[in-house]
Amino acid sequence: MAGKTLYDKLWDQHLVRQNDDGSALIYIDRQILHEVTSPQAFEGLRLANRKPWRIDANLATPDHNVPTTERSGGVELIVDPVSRIQVKTLDDNCDAFGIVEFKMNDTRQGIVHVVGPEQGMTLPGSTVVCGDSHTSTHGAFGALAHGIGTSEVEHVLATQCLIAKKMDNMLVRVDGQLGVGVTAKDVVLHIIGVIGTAGGNGSAIEFGGEAIRSISMEGRMTICNMAIEAGARVGIVAVDQTTIDYFKGRPFSPTESQWDAAAAAWKELVSDDDAEFNTVVVINAADIIPQVTWGTSPEMVVDVTATVPNPDKESDPTKADGIRRALKYMGLTADQKITDIQLDRVFIGSCTNSRIEDLRAAAAVVKGRKVASTIKQALVVPGSGLVKAQAEKEGLDKIFIEAGLEWREPGCSMCLAMNPDKLGNGEHCASTSNRNFEGRQGFGGRTHLVSPAMAAAAAVTGHFIDVRELMGY
């Protein structure tokens, strides 16, 4: 018999019941709640007169709607009345049910996918869900993590279980070493370019290979974060020493007396050598250089040195049509050089790239430089209050401000523009977020997804440039 994949192991460890019809009940160790996808779930519980099954499996924090400008006045001073009600509703629900919440002005508040791991809430071998598709992020720690809808949020609150069906196993192996100036973001954008935005539908993707193993935990989170942009609800990376070290001393990590047993159990969280995958994709790390998306889907991505595609050269008519529509929306012309795209705004933040390492990478590029005069706004939005504090301790805030970027309070911000941070109609933005869909960052806004270093390079030059060239690597 073939060995087990990491996903198989995580699934087996959480199986509560396998039903004859192929559906199964799996146990959920951790649920993270935020203001947008939880109100209807709490309301559902109340209507049915139900209680949460296990309070200590939940953690909440508001992130999508919160303002990122000065906000010491608290929730009452959120200008947008609908946002204010939503954030207050989360506070009220958590208070009523006794769920631990990091409220808006708590230093531990931040984007759900930054906060969970940072607190040691997400642990190797745990199952993690959240009413947000980028929950795949937590798979970086060898956890089984995926996004769920609001009905499922309610289901997990009430039962601590999820009705699920096992997915297929897919392995994306990145062999060799990454070049200097090439980051985790470039790796994942490149992967999505290769397998497409539906390439992982129905699968759990394990990211493996030498290149992945040499990437930090922050970088692995960036990669798993975007598994969903390749269609996979689940992205995972096997546990190694880097993973285990990450959890030492985090607030919700195993206690000292539990530590050795936990670490020993975590070491088992790797795919067996003889495990079989339904699909295997092999990528050569040396082929990856800094990436830029030009279109309205994350798969519409090319090397920074390349040109915008030409629909006339595409043989598949649906694809050619998609390219034409994207070019029109993005205001670009076929065969135009990526480095000729002029930008209006720059956004460094989101659950993809707002951790300390991302901010360090961006700061290294803007240090001693100035934001180009043609850039209307360049935002840096840390992923959590703790990331912000750490960055300030290292003086990164001063570097950003000195260069002409804005230094903000933590939240989702311009990643999806539910708060006041948004693009104007037709504006181009170099963004470190994960989605370049039409209107994602504001009505008519044009998003280009890049790494933090590439976004910083774009901020100081006003257009895309290969950061390796700018930095003389």
Binding site: D21, L25, Q40, A48, I148, Q258, A265, T318, R325
Partner: protein, 215 residues
């Protein structure tokens, strides 16, 4: 959970691949704390010429005449015909809520994004996967006939065209069962409370660090 058994309704064709959840219901409408009222903002950016705001009266907004659901011949459609990877993007259940609120009961496409597909069933909305050829055929027939109607029979797992052609589809038996009977799946799961408690007891021994840590 809402029931779905059998329906006959007019089909409308949305001829574009990778329709994402931001397109189905843009983020500014996700600020609502309710489950209903999203219908007027379904496909907001494609449907209207201006930028929509939450709680706005949409009746006076300028419509985009090119958008399929605005065309006179598709008024009252309850079956949406779509292309591959429909519903990709976020986990927002507001997407099926908006489709349902608008009056769509069934979406037919060659493939769906996983989370969206799953969310549909929780809301009495049936997502049907047919082959590329079958979907192509339906697109052609819809375009050719004004008032084109499809019958969808979940019990028999078939879509029936006006000329009587039956197209079979697959659906997971648990989901089918819940949808046919409008079952409350939380209630069903709580029926296994003993299994859940037994699992927890065992798991507390194996991995005690996963309990009582978040306080």
């Amino acid at each position: 959970m809402k029931q779905f058994t059998l329906m006959t309704g007019m089909a409308a064709p949305l001829d574009r691949a990778n329709v994402d959840t931001d397109m189905i219901i843009p983020k500014q409408f996700l600020k609502s704390i309710k489950r209903s009222g999203f219908g007027p903002n379904l496909f907001d950016e494609l449907r209207y010429m201006d930028e929509g705001q939450p709680d706005q009266d949409c009746s006076g907004r300028p419509l985009n005449p090119d958008f399929v659901l605005n065309q006179a011949r598709y008024q009252g459609a309850s079956v949406l015909l779509a292309r591959e990877n429909f519903g990709c993007g976020s986990s927002r259940e507001h997407a099926p809520w908006a489709l349902d609120d608008f009056g769509i009961r069934c979406v037919i496409a060659p493939s769906f994004a996983d989370i969206f597909y799953n969310n549909c069933f929780k809301n009495g909305l049936l997502p049907i996967i047919l082959s590329d050829t079958q979907v192509d055929q339906l697109f052609e027939e819809v375009a050719a006939t004004v008032g084109y109607q499809l019958m969808v029979d979940l019990e028999k797992q078939v879509v029936v065209t006006p000329s009587g052609i039956e197209m079979e589809f697959r659906v997971d038996s648990f989901r089918k069962h819940c949808l046919l009977h409008g079952l409350d799946d939380i209630g069903l799961t709580l029926g296994f409370a003993d299994d859940i408690a037994a699992y927890e007891l065992r798991r507390r021994q194996e991995a005690p660090w996963l309990f009582d840590a978040i306080k």
